[in-house]
């Protein structure tokens, strides 16, 4: 049965490592839902967080193949239960006249912030789980979304 997984991949920070990790997904025919990467507290290491959908067999295959990459040090498979997950989303939404107050209320309820304002629209920034972000997105859609971007989840193991 297909399920969402997050793979947290600790890699040595050499040039080409990200391309090797991403390339492996392409070459073996696995789909990436989202991917993000940044240096860790140790500048020699980076953490790549990949969200994938697949069954147990696929996840096992991906993990084994990733382990074969020389620069991959550690892979942790994270689920919602075992990890803290957040994604960042920015939404530029139409906000003219009375609509503006309504939007500001929604932003307040979701404890998100308004990062940019002009006469026609607002840019809302929200950090949360995928579900929370989906919820605010649905609420803002009727006002007309001009542009949006979201990062996909990044995650850390609990405890």
């Amino acid at each position: 049965m297909n399920k969402k997984f997050i793979l947290s991949i600790l890699v040595e920070n050499y040039s080409g490592t990200l391309s090797k990790v991403a390339g492996l997904f392409t070459r073996r025919g696995y789909n990436i839902d989202s991917l993000n990467v940044a240096e860790t507290q140790d500048p020699k290491l980076s953490r790549i967080t990949v969200a994938v959908t697949g069954d147990g067999y696929i996840i096992e295959q991906i993990t084994k193949q990733l382990h074969k990459l020389i620069n991959v040090i550690k892979i942790t498979t994270l689920t919602e239960e075992t990890s803290v997950q957040r994604e960042l989303m920015m939404i530029k939404v139409n906000a003219v006249g009375s609509k503006r107050t309504e939007i500001i209320q929604i932003v307040g309820i979701f404890k998100s912030t308004i990062a940019d304002v002009n006469t026609k629209n607002l840019t809302v920034v929200i950090t949360g789980t995928e579900e929370k972000n989906n919820a605010i997105l649905e609420l803002l859609k009727p006002y007309g979304i001009v542009e949006m971007t979201r990062t996909g989840p990044t995650a850390l193991e609990r405890g």
Partner: protein, 549 residues
Amino acid sequence: MKIKAAEAIVKCLEAEKVKVVFGYPGGAVLPLYEALRNSDIRHILVRQEQSAAHMASGYGRALDEVGVCIATSGPGATNLITGIATAYMDSIPLVAITGQVLSDCIGKDMFQEADIIGATQSFTKNSYLVKDAKELPRIIKEAFFIASSGRKGPVLIDIPKDVQDELIEFKYPEKVDIRGYKPTLSGNPRQIKRAVELINKSKRPIVCIGGGIRYGNATEELKKFIEKSKLPVVCSLMGVDGFPNKSPYFAGLIGSHGYNYANRAMNDSDLIIVIGARFADRSTSMMNKNNVQNIIHIDIDPAEIGKNMPAKVPIVGDAKEILNDLLEYDYDLDHNEWLYELQENRNNYLSKSLASSSLLNPKLFISKISEQMGDDGIWVADVGLNQIWAAHSFMVSGSKLFLTSGGLGTMGYSLPSSIGAKIACPNKTVISSMGDGGVQMLMSDLAVAREHNVGVKFIIFNNGKLGMVRELQKNAYGEKSYFGTDVGFNPNFMKIAEAYNIKGMKISKEDEMDNAINEMLKDDEPFILECIVDPEIPSVPRLGGKKNE
């Protein structure tokens, strides 16, 4: 004292005990060639870079060392690609060094620039673009270690020309420490115990070996284990030389082009013990996966276990170590009937397969030559019908090697890699068997055999067809569907031999075989033997339209 990075590369190669490199020079490797000129490392100039990779591959496999090939940037590097991919699929230890355009020009589409790291990413075990000359000694040390340890494979080092010219303090590291690379060698004792229990409970067990037996230097251990446990052995194409095929326990080659009865045996067995094999699509294509009951899968690459077939007992580790562990247990099986059945099937098959015919039966011919090539000979089979004939009929004994491109199925592999093998082992008989299609892929490298007096015996089975593809066409679309598989024109191979100043001989009948073998093996000169064979001889009888083998 500082030295040029190019000289440091050569010093690193010397430290790795590299004696021969196969290469083709060019602008981006000029500094490296200048350093090589002043060293004792022997350089073999190939005629096409693909041959450099294949020669290094044959050289490495023959000696169980890392083969080294060198090419310049751009087209030199891209010509290596097929050889690198071949090495990757068959786990061959190889270090490929390529020149690259000047560091600050990378990405600007300079003359002879190609992103060779990107191009080879999915079929190198690891690759390095060297940006800082000081890193070179560590990188080269790591490259040799990675290529030759764990599941072996090719490593590519791409070095910009200006980096080769930099001055560095040279110190070759004594140890490697790569955080993300620690191959597992020892098998888990609990799993080994479980495996033994399963073996002792089985009624119709079968051992299936792959290239990992040879790569892991485990042939002796395997022999001892089989003699102790009395288990029958089948092999994959890569495992042909892993077990003597005259042993009463040998039960044949499996797979799409294996023996019918060996495939049947896999289906009828109640326990399959896979050792050092991927258990890939071609090996398992004749198996009814629903029939398979229990699999014990032993391999050094954890990613291969459970990839193609579910394993009941997975054991990750080195074949030699694990076989030694297995040897410590006692085996008490009641499977004589099963053994007897397999032996009878095999003898029946061989007597038919090696039957005489007035025309030339290539299988009979191959078995005869392989019996006379010495117990340490090396056979290098190309790809196509000739590969299957050779895999079926090559007589394994002593320390004989059977090299072929099993995974990638690279036509043209045999000619250059046999030259590499003979350069590695000048005192051994090395035979290259090819079809008339495969020989023409890298035929220009016959020049290397002549130039360096490399006494490979080249056998061309000439049927005027691309026989394997033709057979596939026939079985897929019927006999009238042959297309593009008729080699409309072949050169006069005897004149080719003459042009390269290599002795040649052409035969077409069975009664000419013995004389040809004598002529061919009587000295240590290169030799071209052209055998005219009937284009209707199939790979295996099953695929030739006859029902029984």
